[in-house]
């Protein structure tokens, strides 16, 4: 992140004044910050131990026992939700890191006019054609359920997304005259990629990271719902939803709490991504 902070120019600097994407950026930023804050807080403090079962307190409503009530085993829903945020986010971050790093490498290599361009892009097309949830079920059968399965399944299917975004953006940069000037300075493809291409597409990659984080949280919840995420007793939003089904009429708060958490997390990250994209769009960015 230090490299990003050092980026000169108007990319990530927040300016005064209302500009395109300001509202989205503000709301998305606040929601995302809350999400990360809650996830980190859960490491040092939760109202109750999220795994502690108190069978006499089971299925209590919100504010009757704890802030958000208890589930069918008497566990504190608020505590589970907090720890679940951490579990969701770490899985999503790891998956997006896999996808972003490998996808960016593939995209940058393809755009540099390498002979692998066609091959890389056809592989990406093939990966694109596979639905991640189904493939994760397959992968889960192969590797067994767990964090690794979820990370690999989600991450692998993000590679083509990042590869395409990176390739398109990098090809635009390769057409610039300053690339020709760098070649006149005797610089090779790898050096030009590091010095000229990557810094100029970093903004677009960051936007994609936030949007894909939202996708990853959603997919991770789906996988946990199907029992392919973190194994119990680690609380995950997806499994909380799955377990709530049986008690939907008796205790609707059990479904509402994780459902709303997923929705708000995805909304926050998407708004953040949209806001950043509007900021970075050269057509909408005012000349400084």
């Amino acid at each position: 992140m230090t490299a990003l902070a050092k980026l000169p120019g108007p990319v990530l600097r927040l300016r005064r004044g209302w500009r395109p994407g300001s509202a989205a950026l503000l709301i998305g930023g606040i929601l995302t910050a809350c999400l990360v804050g809650i996830a980190l807080t859960s490491l040092v403090w939760t109202p109750e131990d999220p795994a502690r079962m108190r069978i006499l307190q089971k299925l209590k409503g919100p504010l009757v026992s704890g802030l958000l009530g208890t589930d069918h085993l008497g566990r504190d829903v608020a505590s589970m939700l907090m720890r679940g945020a951490f579990n969701s986010l770490t899985t999503a971050f790891a998956a997006v890191a896999v996808g972003a790093v490998l996808g960016t490498l593939a995209g940058v290599a393809a755009a540099a006019g390498s002979k692998f361009d066609a091959v890389l892009m056809r592989i990406c097309d093939a990966l694109f054609a596979l639905p991640p949830i189904l493939s994760a079920i397959m992968l889960g059968a192969l590797l067994g359920p767990g964090a690794l399965t979820a990370i690999v399944a989600i991450g692998v299917f993000m590679i083509p997304v990042f590869a395409r975004v990176t390739r398109g953006a990098a090809m635009q940069i390769w057409a610039r005259e300053y690339i020709m000037a760098a070649r006149m300075a005797g610089k090779g493809t790898a050096r030009i990629t590091v010095e000229h291409v990557l810094p100029n597409i970093a903004g677009q990659i960051i936007v994609q990271v936030t949007i894909q984080l939202a996708m990853a949280i959603l997919t991770e919840a789906g996988l946990s719902f199907l029992g392919l995420g973190l194994p119990p007793p680690a609380p995950t939003w997806g499994r909380m939803l799955a377990e709530s089904q049986t008690y939907l009429l008796q205790a609707p708060h059990l479904a509402l709490a994780p459902g709303l958490a997923i929705a708000v997390a995805v909304l926050g990250l998407n708004l953040l991504g949209d806001g950043l994209a509007a900021r970075l769009d050269p057509r909408r960015r005012q000349a400084s």
Binding site: G9, E177, M180, A181, A185, G186
Partner: protein
Amino acid sequence: MTGPLLSIETLTRDYALRGKGGATRTLRAVDGVSLAVEPGSVFAVVGESGCGKSTLARIVMALDRPTSGTVRLGGDDLFALGPKALARKRRDFQMVFQDPYGSLNPRHSVGRIVAEPLHLLDDAPRGRERRALVARALEDVGLPGSAAERYPHEFSGGQRQRIAIARALITNPKLVVADEAVSALDLSIQAQILRLILSLRDRHGLTVLFITHNIGVVDEIADRVGVMQAGRLVETGPVREVLDHPREDYTRTLLAAEPTLAVLGQRKRRA
């Protein structure tokens, strides 16, 4: 060294175009061009867009390879050199590009941009010495040395083109190719940049290959001019001779199409 600094002989560059149904045809972008540029002179290549003059510039800069023909710079055939030797040779020829907004990386400081070609030198100065060299190069083109710490977006088009010229000159090249180097600038700024190029030529003994579509600019800057049409050099000669007594119809067409201030003034007087 005597004789021309740059000599191009029967240079041809074909591009394969893939048409519909996989049929290929070749486009001859540059067709048997020969020209020689004397050291310390300004040679202008003029022609309308698509006539192959930018392809010619790319080949002279060894950014592209010719289909046939040779480019000699100071006696060395550029395309007979190995990659190492070519990289070594690059310090002798640099380029100024058309678009001063596209030719400077917006994320790099002006100092870093200007210093980029120093990559070509094995014994490139570092640290304070390097900064002093960059500051001198900037002052040489009429910018303050402190510009090195700023970023391209803080400068106007004309100032950016000065930065691009400082970059082209930092390795003390013998030849500078200016590809439409003033076409993107306002008229008054064009004149300033042209004067700067001429004064740098006088101060550093620079040789300039000036590529342009604007025959009015040729009049201002060039010693000799070559008129290019559809890949061929149709007319070459001293600038006064070609502009005042064009032998080719095409040159006359170009001249007539150019509303230079002088011509506009004549028309006004006649009216």
